[in-house]
Amino acid sequence: MNQISNLILPIIVLLVILYGFIKKTNLYDEFVVGAKESFDMIIMMFPCVLGMILGINLFLESGFLDIITRTIKPLFEIINVPTEILPISLIRPISGSASLALLNSIFTTYGPDSIIGRITSVIEGSTETTFYVITLYFGCIGIKKIRYALIAGLLADLIGIIASIVVVNMIFS
């Protein structure tokens, strides 16, 4: 399984370059133009990440979350799921930067290669900021009644979270 993961990136790069060769694309020029776009994205990201790291780290340090986690822990132990994944699962649909800040603190505490680190990596990678997407897309075309959109989006996220736990447990243990 690890081999597959390791092959995906090089194979995609190879295919993209080969196709570009056949189509006589200016490979290097286009690469440079694309890479340049990252400056704008990073500049846009920085203030959000800064704000969320401050908020999340203060919140985590305060011990408030420990009280909540301790209360639900028995429930999670029954289904054999680490409680540490709870905060990121709750925050992920609301804010991308906040969940990234949480992921950062999980990596600091448990390490990226721990089972918790891997599950949360996959949760972060397989779910979206549903609230943001709904606000953005429906807001801009003037939809007032969203009907079952939020339920459907959040349920899709929930399936993503459950799938992350199951898949990581299957592949890495």
Partner: protein, 193 residues
């Protein structure tokens, strides 16, 4: 929503830190968060630049639009309400392909275009149509092949193999996409009655 949550994080954080007698730690955290965030940005930046560079080749060579066209037959099945050959289908497929390759910046404009186009065939302009919600569900499951941000964050924390979650991510998003579409199908059917 984000405003209220962020505010509560900080208010709860500071009050509980004082209550739990963690005043010194709190001072360190306030100042350290600036450093942590710039560390994160600096580590994410090069991986993102690399990926956007590679993907720009795929865009310029026409690979992305070719793949988007290949998706159309499948889409007519997922979106039964959209008339065949309607322009919204091409925006939807471009958005999906851009998302798959981690081109968030390119995906959003396509997504907005797709929504505008779906609005032109929507009967009640203030109510979300079935197709709009299905498109939204596809977006929230967000199938991605290379989650660049997560990989670079794993690199920064010294992972032995930051890429080893790629396959798991792909599998998990695929499951959530299929599950999301099934849920959407049944919710659409029950809301009609």
């Amino acid at each position: 929503m984000v405003n209220k949550i962020w505010g509560s994080f900080i208010v709860i954080g500071i009050i509980f830190c004082i209550m739990n007698n963690k005043i010194e730690d709190m001072n360190i955290i306030i100042l350290e968060s600036a450093k942590t965030s710039i560390d994160m940005i600096i580590k994410i930046f090069p991986v993102m630049a690399l990926w956007l560079g590679i993907m720009n080749i795929a865009k310029a060579s026409g690979l992305i639009s070719k793949m988007a066209r290949g998706l159309s037959p499948l889409l007519t099945k997922i979106f039964p309400e959209i008339p065949k050959g309607h322009e919204s289908l091409s925006y939807i497929s471009s958005n999906i392909i851009a998302n798959i390759f981690g081109l968030g910046n390119a995906a959003t404009p396509f997504g907005l275009k797709a929504m505008e186009s779906l609005q032109t065939i929507n009967k009640k302009k203030e109510v979300a149509s079935r197709s709009m919600i299905t498109f939204l569900v596809i977006n929230t499951s967000c199938v991605t092949i290379i989650p660049t941000t997560i990989i670079s964050l794993r690199m920064m924390h010294g992972s032995a193999n930051p890429n080893d979650i790629i396959f798991s991510c792909f599998l998990a998003t695929f499951i959530s996409l299929i599950g999301g579409l099934i849920i959407d199908f049944f919710l659409a059917r029950s809301s009609k009655k």
